[in-house]
Amino acid sequence: MANHEETPEEKPETATTVPREKAAFGMPLIKGLANTLSHILRNEPNTIHYPAEKRTPFPGYRGEHRLKRDELGREKCVACFLCSTACPAHCIEIVAEEAPWGDREKRPRLFNIDMMRCIYCGMCEEACPCDAIELTPVYNIPSRSRGEKIYNKEKLLSL
């Protein structure tokens, strides 16, 4: 390492790359303009008539959350708080209570997600050890009040 003598030679080498980039500058610009022009001339809409026409979300699209149920219809969530711990927006509020069923200890008494703070990153889904929470592809979730944007347990389970 100490007698590494090539270092001073590297400078001119990088300097030579600049003219090459300059030379390549004109062509992509013309290509881009041609592309734009062809679309203008073709006169086809590239947007969709949104409320009337709906696009199928791409696979893995992260929209509105839901809480899943197990085969007996009980919530899968065990109130471990891992989703709320992982959540970078701190928008999941959980209060645990003892589960009435023998096969688990806890369940959420309260499970609120503040959809206005959520950044739809999907960390909650990844953190969950029980596969109890997921982000559905539902993206059109307007509401008339802020209160409606706090999804509680019942709402999350019904989705």
Binding site: V78, A79, T85, E98, E105
Partner: protein
């Protein structure tokens, strides 16, 4: 090796080091910054040497040795990171986990679990165990303690605690081999005044306090280093809160006061903070007073008074008492007396832990600030003055958990004063008909210094419970009163008031909040660098 020389030269990870003779390898290594993992070892308990996680390689033994019980010796060579040592730890971890349920997501210990930490640091990342795991009992061991047997690693810390520290011996290990688990004898639940400590020292989530069960995940809570106000021992505690609600109290190590322990009375004694009868706003003749208007109302009442007496309580901090003294002095000719809550019973335990009979934290401090006859002669004088009606205005402090007020006799006497100003934590007969009722902070909500029965000054810090966020503390109200009385320009922090106190009083001279630090100091032991430290507030 056997000469009277008390230091021993030995080699730790290739470096020659020196330690006092008689230390264990684990203790000596810690001095040199090498932490060796441990499950069964606890500095407050006897050495059991049963978990084997602390194994290290030694030049004196063909097999690795356990560093928690092996002592250092001249010429001993210990390696904690050699292949043998790492492999030994790895195998112990794998062994500990074969029957462990790994239910960390629903385990209340998760986040402060020694097994989790060691598994992360020293354990293999997968298990080769394909058989079914053992199922052991999950049940109540006593009114406050539940056991999740599956999680128990049979370190016997809890068993040794009950044998050696509380001396009650309720717990024992039943069954053998991989079925061993901690249990109690039928009909003998674990129900002693120190039982809660077993939950703290359990390295895993096997022992769970039924009070804290499912209440919060430990990493979400805020911690405040404070002092318990339950008795005049002044155990150092950590108050853990979630969104302004106290969730649990745990002991904080202080070898001069409470070692690693605290009693259950103090541990579970915080619910009064959220009692329905808790006062949250000031009232002037039954009308609500705004938090900012409290001191004005107080000033108005005091300035029209011909003779004023102050009745203080032993829950007040030295700073609050100092403010009362200077206010009383400037009013001229005021009496100050104190009331004491009913005495409890003293309890002593074989492990050296003591629960004091004085059920209040600051009698000593109050006597230092306001005179040794505060609770005796002065109290008697005030009693007779109140009963013959010669007190025009009484300012009474009714703090503590506050359910009993100042005790039967005082509660009656308080109502005999012409005008009454009551600082109280709870509503009750002592507030009825008072001219001004001001909400008071309870223990765990106070900022300041308490002096325990051994004359040790310790800082108690406010856990900022949601309740105490609704009103200014006495420390603020009393200082605002001084501002109204033109005695002070602006309110100071508790540290600033303590500085005034240490300048005014011999007992406290030389001490400051920063010199008392987290663990406090005996009042007789003055810090060396007093002048430089007194400067910060």
């Amino acid at each position: 090796m056997s000469d009277s020389n008390s230091t021993v030269r030995w080699t730790l990870n290739g470096t020659e080091v020196e330690n006092e003779a008689g230390m264990t390898i684990m203790e000596a290594a810690k001095v040199h910054g090498v932490d060796i993992p441990q499950f069964c070892y606890h500095p407050g308990l006897s050495i059991a040497g049963n978990c084997r996680i602390c194994m290290v390689e030694s030049n004196r033994s063909p097999k690795p040795v356990i560093s928690c019980s092996e002592r250092i010796a001249e010429g001993l060579e210990i390696k904690t990171q050699s292949e043998v040592a790492v492999d030994a730890r790895n195998s112990v971890m794998e062994f500990q986990l074969i029957n462990h349920p790994l239910d960390c997501p629903v385990c209340d210990k998760a986040g402060e679990c020694v097994l989790q930490d060691h598994s992360y640091e020293h354990g293999p990342d997968r298990s080769r165990f394909v058989e079914d795991k053992n199922i052991r009992h999950t049940k109540e061991l006593g009114p406050t303690i539940d056991i999740w047997g599956n999680r128990c690693i049979v370190c016997t810390r809890c068993v040794r605690f009950c044998d050696e520290i509380s001396g009650t011996g309720e717990l024992c290990v039943v069954e053998r081999g991989d079925r061993s688990v901690v249990d109690v004898f039928p009909g003998v639940p674990i129900d002693n005044s120190l039982a809660g400590n077993t939950v703290d020292i359990c390295p895993v989530g096997a022992l769970i306090s039924s009070d804290f069960k499912y209440e919060a995940r430990v990493w979400n809570m805020d911690k405040t280093s404070s002092v318990c106000g339950g008795c005049s021992r002044g155990c150092n505690v950590e108050v853990e809160t979630l969104d302004g609600f106290v969730k649990r109290l745990t002991p904080r190590e202080n070898l001069d006061v409470n070692d690693w322990w605290m009693c259950d009375h103090g541990r579970y004694g915080w619910r009064h903070l959220y009692a329905d009868s808790r006062l949250e706003g000031a009232q002037h003749d039954g009308q609500a007073v705004s938090p900012t208007g409290t001191s004005g109302a107080l000033h108005q009442l005091l300035s029209s008074s011909s003779s004023t007496a102050f009745l203080v309580d032993p829950f007040m901090t030295c700073e609050e008492l100092h403010l009362v003294r200077s206010i009383a002095n400037s009013l001229g000719g005021s009496t100050i007396a104190g009331w004491l809550p009913a005495a409890g019973t003293e309890e002593n335990f074989p492990g050296g832990f003591k629960i004091s009979a004085d059920k209040h934290p600051n009698r000593k401090g109050a006597e230092h600030v306001l005179g040794g006859d505060l609770f005796t002669t002065s109290a008697d004088q005030l009693k007779s003055a109140l009963s013959n009606g010669s007190i025009d205005t009484l300012v009474a402090f009714v703090g503590g958990d506050g359910f009993e007020g100042a005790g039967g006799e005082w509660n009656d006497l308080i109502s005999k004063a012409g005008k009454r100003i009551v600082f109280a934590t709870q509503q009750g007969s002592w507030c009825e008909g008072a001219d001004l009722v001001i909400p008071a902070t309870a223990p765990l909500e106070k900022e300041g210094v308490w002096v325990n029965e051994d004359d040790r000054a310790q800082r108690t810090r406010s856990c900022r419970s949601l309740t105490s966020n609704h009103f200014p503390s006495e420390l603020v109200v009393l200082q605002e009163l001084q501002v109204h009385m033109e005695q002070r320009n602006r309110p100071l922090s508790a540290a600033g008031i303590f500085r005034e106190l240490s300048e005014a009083s011999d007992a406290f001279s030389g001490h400051s909040h920063s010199s008392l630090g987290d663990s406090g100091s005996p009042l007789s032991q003055r810090p060396a660098a007093m002048s430089s430290e007194g400067g910060q507030s």
